[in-house]
Symmetry: C3
Subunit: 268 residues, 3 copies
Amino acid sequence: VSSDTDPLITLTTDIGWAYAAQMKGVILSRNPRARIIDLTHDVPPHQILEGAFLLLHMARPFPPGCIHVAVVDPGVGGSRERICLVGPQGTRLVGPDNGVLSPLAEILGAREAYRLDPGRVIPGETPSATFEGRDIFAPAAARLSRGESPESLGPPVAWQRLKLPEPVATSEGFEVTILHVDRFGNCITNVPMTAVRDRWGASEISVVLGAGRHRERVPIARTYSDLPLGTLAVLGSSFGLAELSVNQGRADERLHLRPGEKIFLQGA
Amino acid sequence: VSSDTDPLITLTTDIGWAYAAQMKGVILSRNPRARIIDLTHDVPPHQILEGAFLLLHMARPFPPGCIHVAVVDPGVGGSRERICLVGPQGTRLVGPDNGVLSPLAEILGAREAYRLDPGRVIPGETPSATFEGRDIFAPAAARLSRGESPESLGPPVAWQRLKLPEPVATSEGFEVTILHVDRFGNCITNVPMTAVRDRWGASEISVVLGAGRHRERVPIARTYSDLPLGTLAVLGSSFGLAELSVNQGRADERLHLRPGEKIFLQGA
Amino acid sequence: VSSDTDPLITLTTDIGWAYAAQMKGVILSRNPRARIIDLTHDVPPHQILEGAFLLLHMARPFPPGCIHVAVVDPGVGGSRERICLVGPQGTRLVGPDNGVLSPLAEILGAREAYRLDPGRVIPGETPSATFEGRDIFAPAAARLSRGESPESLGPPVAWQRLKLPEPVATSEGFEVTILHVDRFGNCITNVPMTAVRDRWGASEISVVLGAGRHRERVPIARTYSDLPLGTLAVLGSSFGLAELSVNQGRADERLHLRPGEKIFLQGA
């Protein structure tokens, strides 16, 4: 059997490398043929929405048939379910049913979900109450990668349809939410860049922080290097969304922004 | 030959990704079939005990027959030996003989060690004095992964039997050592959670910092989400050990704790 | 086909894991047989010289025939070219033509470069203006890994011959540049350790910070553990270059040094 038929399992977590390593060992001990791809283990701790946003964009380019495992799981050991969502062409999503899988599932058009029943995933074993990534999700991914069906791991269930926050159009522009701050300090909002361009063209807009705390006119730019060093601008992120960016600086520090915050984009 | 027979080599280091990348190149240039798995390159610099603790728990879930390479090596280029420890079913541990391999070797029941003789591992080459991970351990792992025997790399040797610190039972409870602080700020102690439960059941205990500096009553919890946000508690880590944890906060910052520190767990 | 013939693609970036994950998905969706090796995603943001230095040393140990992709690309979406450099025995380097590939290309003896023409790499698609790592370099690497020729992706071009800064010999010693600060705080200079030893032997030298701001006598050492804890010294890094190091401390913090800074090594 050639290696291109070996199953791909991707890992997206907020748990850091050392805990994720234990998941890799569990997977490989149950399926030595699995090919494990680290997406990121740097999701900010406990941030389900940011994890869901990142998973959506990281997993989408992967070929059909991958098993995507997400562990951003502040409710571990509690009452939230564990699920396997089934996408088209054999793609499967594995993780807690807290919404972290929802945006990816929706884009993929997943139609079914199955509960991961510990009695079927790890018969005779008791999972820890604090790390189901290792004790349930990794063994489930290994079973799926060996060709076992999601149905064999638990009954069909409904799942949480968490939505990423939507921008709100106002008479003056948009109220937007910061979905993610990247390694460069770019602040990615939830409004499509096309909507910004449709409204204001290629000119200037104003960035307004809550309650009039701060208002600043910024250019609309095409890319970082079109701007003088240190200039704050709005431009189209690679996610297709408007982002606030400082050429070779950090927009998050400049504006004191963090994921989850709401700001306003308005006419200049 | 199918890919599931390709040898697995895991890497655990404190050297960061860029130095570890050089090890990967050395391994793959000597055995292109090797499958390299990054466990972590984030061991706190020079922390042999914490590295040994993490290696033990990361490598244990892996299947037999892996080659586990550990590079936490403050004595590089000095008089400490380089060794290959032989576990059951073909598992091999490669690294400096400073104790970083010892807890894993003991759990695996390793019985033999062989010195890694540079003249045999890299005949005709001179290793640098500052990075034997690249110059000796990686080539040794590559040789082992091609089926060469540990005996062919050097003579049998005794090895350091470093023990992780043990908790001390006192009349009032336990003196414990922080073995690891994880990405969430959870402080993992060296006392089994079963010992804590056996002594105090599911009620409260006191966490006492050295010399009466601080004493605080905390609940014994089952998992993070059983607690109000921001509450400090003792619960069972996924390592099976008692950990101090703040639900969605950082216990290390709350108590100013670092790996290696000793604290007391006492009756409430 | 056995796995050792599957093509190796290495990734070196300053973009962090989440963006790099998208590159992996693009590569694997176009060539499921590709074996992707993470070198580092931690190059300091926008630092072309430091990225070039790290790529040179990380990629060199890899076997011939690898495809090395580098994304340190502050000029993304601007006028800088995208290129594929061709080394001996099928080694290929892919990235922006801003110099990040140059030192590696020179060591390898690369003789030809080809422009990566978006119309040929991703016919019918429009790349984003902000992430060509995902939109052009990853698809190009996937094509090359499937056996397509660099010539098929664009016409021959000249490329930037960026040089790493050279040390300057003076009557008193050397003016050197810090090329890299590693995870331990070691400050790697651009002067070969052999040149330091040739000039001063195994004794002491002086480290002089700009404009007489600071002058300190330090020993020349063989390795870290030869020094008392906390002692600043000059020793031979694993890159073959002189580095400033504090045994189990941080030389960068001790001397307030950062990559790109110039200092002087002089007689004691």
